[in-house]
């Protein structure tokens, strides 16, 4: 039996006191422990942003790379070793802004990556600019007249692209968040888990209180396999905000479709130098 403490290391988080990231970190550890995935049997890939520091605060294989490029690194790692579960940790600026193009194509590939987006509707690391999910009209230092752009709806976007697994969690409801993380981990295919996470320092609008008044757990009889219904539900935002698995399908994953890695992960495939060189030369004379 693993416990969340098995993932604990001596790194002091540099997050603000009260930040929603703390509860996400704790929930990630709990989920992995309950799924019996030890620290060396999982890879966390992150980019840049407050969220992306998460892998540094727990024991796990980590690749902390560029801002916005979490998914390409995760894709390469996963194609090289699909025996290793890969979790991509990103923020709303990181994944929906800088890395938006990669999100579209990771969903299209349906590569078996678990994308956890810490969505605080603001830029935290750079101190308070609007993010793609900031509400229209939100006033910031850089948007003194309010945000003009339409708020990005990541769930609707993912459902439009027929993503394998689309869910929303809330950092203030860790019990449910843990279930969602575990479900995402269990899903075979690309999984987007958008996690509403208050930024206690810069987002004075979307606070814990603001979310608590709106967020609800989706009803048990809801059918996440109905794409049109899921799309409609994904549009719900305002007085009530649904959390839970909004959409799910069972498309084949990229790893299943690439014939080269169908049986054995790439990293486990031996390379025979001598035979390869001989084979290359024979091939040349044949043409």
């Amino acid at each position: 039996m693993l416990s969340p403490d098995d993932y604990t290391i001596e790194q002091k988080p540099a997050w603000c006191p009260g930040c929603g990231n703390f509860s996400i970190l704790r929930t990630v550890k709990e989920s992995l422990a309950e799924l019996e995935i030890p620290p060396h049997k999982v890879l966390l890939v992150s980019g840049i942003g407050q969220s992306s520091k998460l892998p540094h605060y727990m024991k796990c294989n980590t690749f902390n790379g560029l801002h916005g490029r979490t998914l390409p690194v995760a894709t390469g790692a996963r194609l090289a070793n699909h025996g290793l579960p890969v979790i991509a940790i990103a923020g709303d600026g990181d994944c929906y802004g800088e890395g938006g193009n990669h999100l579209i194509h990771a969903i299209r590939r349906n590569i078996n990556i678990k994308l956890f987006v810490h969505d605080n509707q603001i830029y935290g690391l750079t101190k308070g600019q609007a993010s793609p999910t900031s509400g229209e009209g939100m006033v910031t230092k850089v948007q003194p007249f309010g945000v003009f752009s339409e708020q990005l709806n990541p769930l609707a976007l993912a459902i439009a692209l027929d993503a394998g697994f689309v869910a929303r969690g809330f950092a203030g409801d860790t019990e449910f968040l843990k279930e969602l993380m575990k479900e995402a981990m269990g899903h075979k295919g690309f999984s987007l888990l958008d996690i509403l996470q208050p930024c206690v320092t810069f987002n004075k609008l979307n606070t814990f209180k603001w979310y608590r008044e709106r967020v609800y757990r989706i009803e048990p009889e809801y059918n996440p396999e109905d794409r049109s219904g899921a799309f409609t539900r994904s549009l719900e935002w305002g007085a009530r905000i649904p959390t839970g698995v909004i959409y799910r399908n069972s498309r084949p994953t990229l790893e299943e479709r690439v014939p080269i890695i169908k049986d054995t992960p790439l990293v486990r495939q031996d390379f025979d130098f001598k035979a390869t060189v001989e084979g290359l030369l024979t091939g040349l004379y044949k043409t």
Binding site: Q11, H40, F63, N64, G76, L79, A80, P259, F273, Y285
Partner: protein, 571 residues
């Protein structure tokens, strides 16, 4: 024997197929071949050509004069008719071209009519042209018929038969209607191996154990992705077409971190997008090989043409300070060797290594009696399986004497592997302190760079032992500069070449500097406008060339161009 055949036409007319078949026929017949291609950025129309030099001795550049022009369109007649040698001939389709061309050097061959005469299809007109060229040269038709059989077998007997008839018809017609053709082919010897630069880069990567290639299509690098995809199943390679170049390099780094040899390839514009990823490779100490196919910029410039314009960009780009290795092979054989070695050094030192080429090297076909595989190496530097599991502890960036920390494969041992883009401690976690910063920079930059320098080999010397004239070049210009040296020496000059293919770290000062210092005149020859290698060499060694010959019209050098350039530079 030293003949040049040029096939000209519009994009989409099939001139590349004619060129490829002729080159292949010459090589399998036992001749040496050198070919280059010139094409526009379009799928239909425009004007393209494929130029093949065929000889019984090795050849390494294209000539300006043509012995046989195969004109598939009117523009080819106008553009390439004047390039004919005094003994040269041009063949064109006398049926489809409205006016008949006068002059005994212009031979009308009814390509389409001959193709359809015995029930063949009009698309076999190009096979008629191919047969006709072979007939004019007076070469044996058997290798062509063999190749047709092999190439069209899958399409069925009717297609094979039609093409065989078309080839024979063109061959016979040319023999009959060109009694003035006086080409004397040397007796063929043994079949030659023929390959292009881009094929050689692909083979070099496979020979080095490449397992993952991600890229976004961009001329002239796309051929690598095409070749690797074709061989993916046989050699167990995952090829992923990325959504953009940024994704391409980041995917390759992800795969490399996970434990397999990875590579990406692109051209200047795509590489500009990858640059942030280059710095990521550097600070995370993740091995990667980057093939950069230069083309004339700025920006899109001449997208299908050739230039050596990205050297200083590749040498200096990437924010921050870190070691890299830059190779620029001069021939397909060298492209094979250096791409293989790029992986060796990338893995050994956990650094980015470049294989720099251009459209010219990518497309040129060279022939060899046989390819040498002596220099190819493979050593797995990763910490895997039991070897990793048996380690008491593991820190991804542990300080070592050499600066290199063994690269553990995540998942193979109870230890975690932490790679970090921030300045980090030995375990890979974020730090802010000055002391660690200095120690980590010393580790990944100075310690490694000192060792990498020892690996770099001096430039290749060719020609006179104690030359008065030294021609210097790098990368794809090897073959043409070598022939320019031969031409100078035939004229009674005392000339030699220094060819650099290992460009960074710069080769340690050695015999080559004395060759330059003792020469009466030194000429740096570059396919760019500003002499980027000359500046690089000046920065690294303090050496200043007396003369520079630059070509920046997007076209490759010829021997004559170089000789004229030297004369102009002298005066």
């Amino acid at each position: 024997m030293d003949y040049t055949v040029k096939i000209g036409g519009e994009a989409g007319q099939g001139l590349v197929t004619v060129g490829e078949i002729l080159s292949r026929v010459f090589a399998t017949a036992g001749y040496h071949v050198f070919s280059h291609q010139d094409y526009e950025s379009r799928v239909r129309g425009g004007h393209n050509f494929y130029q093949i030099r065929v000889s019984e001795t090795p050849v390494s550049s294209s000539l300006e004069k043509i012995d046989i022009v195969v004109a598939l369109d009117r523009a080819s007649i106008e553009l390439h008719g004047p390039e004919l040698t005094d003994e040269g001939f041009l063949i064109y389709d006398s049926e489809t071209l409205e006016e008949k061309l006068k002059g005994s050097r212009y031979i009308g061959v009814p390509f389409k009519k001959l193709a359809t005469k015995d029930g063949g299809s009009p698309v076999m007109a190009n096979t008629v042209a191919t047969g006709a060229a072979l007939g004019m040269l007076g070469m044996d038709i058997a290798p062509l018929l063999d190749l047709i059989e092999k190439r069209f077998r899958k399409k069925g007997d009717a297609i094979v038969e039609g093409n065989v008839k078309a080839a024979r018809a063109g061959y016979g017609y040319a023999k009959e209607h060109c009694p003035e053709c006086r080409f004397l082919p040397a007796p063929p010897v043994s079949a030659k191996v023929m390959l292009t630069g881009i094929e050689a880069i692909s083979l070099g990567a496979i020979s080095a154990g490449l397992k993952f290639y991600s890229a976004y299509p961009m001329t002239p690098s796309t051929g690598i992705m095409n070749n690797l995809s074709a061989m993916a199943e046989k050699y167990g390679i995952v090829v992923e077409q990325a959504e953009d170049e940024i994704a391409a390099i980041n995917m390759a780094l992800g795969a490399s971190f996970a434990g397999v040899r990875a590579m990406t390839g692109t051209s200047g514009g795509g590489f500009a997008l990858m640059v942030e990823g280059l710095s990521l490779a550097a600070i995370t100490e993740t091995p990667i090989v980057i093939a950069e196919g230069q083309r004339p910029g700025p920006a899109t410039g001449f997208p299908t043409r050739t230039e050596q314009g990205d050297l200083l960009f590749i040498l200096h780009t990437g924010h921050g300070e870190f070691p890299r290795v830059v190779f620029a092979p001069g021939t397909p054989q060298e492209a094979l060797n250096l791409t293989n070695r790029a992986f060796e050094l990338a893995e050994k030192y956990q650094i980015p290594v470049f294989v720099v080429f251009d459209q010219y090297l990518a497309d040129c076909q060279w022939t060899y009696e046989s390819l040498s595989t002596e220099e190819l190496v493979y050593k797995d530097y990763r910490l895997r399986g039991d070897a990793f599991a048996s380690q008491k502890e593991y820190k991804r960036y542990a300080y070592t004497e050499s600066g290199v920390t063994p690269l553990g494969v995540p998942g193979d041992a109870p230890h975690v592997v932490v790679a970090d883009i921030d300045e980090h401690d030995e375990e890979g976690h974020i730090v802010e302190d000055a002391e660690t910063r200095i120690r980590m920079t010393d580790k990944r930059l100075f310690k490694k760079l000192a060792a990498i320098r020892e690996e770099i080999r001096p430039p290749l010397r060719y020609g006179s032992e104690s030359p008065d004239t030294v021609l210097v070049g790098w990368g794809s210009t090897y073959g043409v500069i070598k022939e320019a040296v031969d031409a100078l020496n035939e004229r009674g000059d005392n000339a030699a070449m220094l060819h650099f293919s290992e460009l960074y770290p710069f080769p340690a000062r050695g015999g080559y500097m004395k060759v330059l210092e003792d020469a009466k005149r030194t000429v740096c020859i570059e396919n760019n406008a500003t002499g980027q290698f000359a500046r690089h060499m000046s920065a690294e060694t303090g050496y200043e060339f007396a003369l520079n010959v630059n070509r920046y019209d997007g076209r490759p050098f010829t021997v004559d161009y170089i000789l004229r350039g030297i004369e102009d530079a002298v005066s």
